[in-house]
Every structure is written in C-alpha cells, then in structure tokens.
Amino acid sequence: MSLELVCPAGTPAALRAAVDAGADTVYCGFRDCTNARNYPGLNFDPDEMAEGVAYAHRFGRKVLAAVNTFPRAGDARPWHDAIDNAARANVDAVILADIGVLDYAATKHPELRRHLSVQASASNELSIAYYRDRFDIRRVVLPRVLSVEQVAALVRRIGIETEVFAFGSVGPMSEGRCFLSSYITGLSPTSEGACAPASHVSYKEDGPETLSRLGEVTLNRFSHGEPAAYPTPCKGRYVTHGRTSYLFEEPIALNAIDILADLQAAGVTALKIEGRQRSRAYVTEVVGSFRQAIDALDRGQGGAVENTLASVAEGQRQTHGAYTKGWR
C-alpha cells in the first residue's frame, strides 16, 4: 500500500500549493492558540478552513485540522470552538493532544475521525492503547524519538494507523512537554501555541557577528556567511564544562526521503512533512520531492529520486534523526 503524504499548510495559498504539488492530505490550524503554530499572520479562519477543505476534496485529497495545544485552566472555550468549527468545515479528521479536548470531540462529534497529535508524546504501546481504547483514535503521530525497528514493533502491536515525521524540524524529544521557551518568555508553547514566539525574538549585529536572542537571553551568535537559525532554546549554543556546543539539538532538518522503503516495510501508514510556519515555496518544493519519491517507491524504484532539499533544510543540514541513530 502506498505511503500517504501528509503535508503542512499555514495559509490557504499553502494548502492549494500542497494539493497541487501532490499531497494526499493537508493539515492546518485555526488562527488562534488552539494549534501549535500560532504565529502572527498564519493559519485559517473558519471560512478559509471550509474553502480549503472544499478545494482539497475537489481533487480527492483530505484535510486534517490540528487542535493540538492544551487548554488553559478554566478556559477551554477556544478549543471547543475549534473542534466545532473543524466539524462544520467538514474536515476529514482532527489532530488532538489533550485528553479533555479528545473527550469533548469524542462526545460532541463522535463521527469526526480523531488522530493523536505528536504533542501527546505517546511513544509506547501502553500509552497509545489508552488513547485508542478511551477515545477511539484511529491514527497516532509518533514522536521523533523512535528507530525504524521500534516503529515497526509498535505498528505490529497497536492495531491503529501510524504517521511518522519524514521532513522538517527536529524537536527536543519531549514534544508536548517542553517548557524551555516559557522559562524565558513567560508564554507556554503548549497553551499559547508558539515555541519562541516571534514577539520575543530579535537579531542584533555585534561587530562581525549576528546575535539571535529570545527575550533578554542570547541563544546563539553567527559569523557573517554562517547559516543562521530561528532561536528556539533547544537549538541555542551553550557553554558547558568550558566548551561551547549545541547542547540539546543542532539546527538541522530531519529528512527521511532515502529511507522511505524502510518506513514502508515497518508498516507505517503516513509520512508527515513538518513546517506549517514555512512558506508555500517550501511546501511546493518539499511536497513535490516526496511525491516523486513515493511514486518511485510504488513503481519499485525506491531511492531513484535525488535528494535536493538541502536548501530548504534548517541550517542547510539534514539527518535521519532517531530513525537510524544507535543512541537508544
């Protein structure tokens, strides 16, 4: 069975670009704190979501709505509205993380298909089985911490579809539980929907170098000509034991385009491209490349497509991440 290509869209134009470039499915979010890419000028209002769904359905493609942040205490209304608006827009599924939101969706819209977001950070059989049995989730988006062998083992045991990341940013391995950004900005990525919110990011020239800062904290310095990166705390350079290094994660992009056959053999249902905050040019380029690679795989010519995605990769560098890492 062919791998399903699930692609990001931060804007209606990006949704159309993803469909035109060959996405099987497009995921997007509303213009508020209910999704994990809540950046200014990004995302969809309810009318735009309905128009986007209609466009995708016209070409036989699907749209998923991400409602994958965690409600603030005593203020679940935006999340409930997002679920209601997604159902009204006729989306094909909602991507959820919080058990309260999962419960609301399962109760109010039982016919609406539910996927478990990577933000829920469910990476083992017991955890996934809980969401499957309690909320009837049909698909789990696996965190970027598993090797291909571990993915295969999970697929055999959990009895629901799996979606894995194939391209994009590499997270700090604690998705949905990371508070590094909130320590500096006071804004929680899990409730406000933005890690390192743009309102707190600045760049400052410092002689021959550029400093990237989050709030009052300098997270990195780049010499001219050296590729820069968006300053999230997990990708800052820190001094430990007298040595400066990327302590948590390096600015590097996950790219699994040349191990798609392994992921397919592992029983994966769908490949997710990360990057709703990126432009429609990024969407067109990455989706087009993966469309070609999947089509080649389906023709029995896996690996025949050249990897040309370095220019849109974070830090212009790429990795297989945990899929082939031996550290676990």
Binding site: P40, A198, S199, S279
Partner: protein, 223 residues
Amino acid sequence: MQRSRPLAAATLSLIPSPVLARLTVLLNRAMRRRHPRLVANFARLDPAVVHVFPSDLPHRFAIEFGGGKMDVRVLRETGAGAAPDAEIRGNLMALIDLLEGRIDGDAMFFSREIEITGSTAVIVAVRNTLDREEILISDEIAAIFGPLERPARRIALRVDTAISRARARIAAIHARLHEADAPARDLSAETDALRAEVKALKTRLAKLDVRQTRADSAATGAP
C-alpha cells in the same frame, strides 16, 4: 509558473522618485481592486511600519499596515520620518521572489540572503500575510495600465527576455574576468571542524570499546 523577470529591477532603478511615488499610489489602488483579501489581512494586523531596502536600487519603500489600513509608499529620504518597527534588506530580485512566494523566506534568512532588523513579530506577520496571496508583480504593474494592460504585458515580456539574456552574458563575462577574486577557503575553520569531528569519532570509538569489553566480559563470565 510565470515569473516577474528582471524588467522590474531595471525599470525601478531608472524611474525618478516622484514618478515612482505616483506609480506606487496607482499600484496601491490596483492591489485594493485585485487583492482585497490581502489588503484586509494586512489591515487586521497590529499597526506597524516596515521599511524595505532593495540593496541594488536607489529607492526605499515603506509598508504601513494595521488598524484597518494598508499602504505602500516610496520613502523620500533614508532615515527621514519616524523609525520603522522593522527593516528588510536584500537585492530586489530576492525581495520580489519573496513577495511572489517563489522562494522560502526562512531559507533566505537562514542563508543570510536577506537581513532583517527590528521586530521579528512584525516581519513574521508581513511574511505570512504576503504568503497567503498569489501575487505576480509584473501582473500588478501591468494592471496599472488599465485598458492598455495586454499590450503593456507583451512589451514587458519582450524587454524582460532581452534583459535576462544580457544579464546572463554579462554575468558570464564577469565570472571569467574575476576568477582570481573567488573567496579563499577558510582553511582554519575547516581544520577546526575536522578536528571536532575526529574528537567526536574518538569519543564514540571509546564508548564502543567499553561496550564491547562489557559484552565480552558478560559472555565469558569474567568480572
């Protein structure tokens, strides 16, 4: 997909400021007529002013938006007026490609092809709002001509093709003449990188040795 060719850069660099200011007013009108949703999306943002500095043009532009309005104008003098909330710098073709959603803004920023200063939130909002709309600058400029739009577009295409060819020829000649000026490799940085890589590999090898020794010990029962 069509592309706004170098005509825009060539034309803009030749037009005197007062004429360009008038054309910008007409362009604003055309944008309101042809892209009402884009204008509405800018108008709903928080009020801000962004200055755009095409590095290969004598002109500077200001985009003012938010609080129910959106306006693009030519700046009369660099540094005149109130300080902007943010500034974008880069060569005109890169900026046009960015405006038309042809290239990824993050990739351009990460590779330092464009530079931004000031409020990142404002820049992100501008980038995302522009990216919501499919715009072709050559179409917008042609739309200014009203009933003469089609002949203007045909002439523009011919001029564009001629300029592209001329530019390619000049670039090739320039490259041949200045081969010796190619930047020297930073051998010091390369050496540092290789040294760090060797160190990491040594550490990894040592860990593997320890693991192997433990495995051997476990297999033989040795302490």
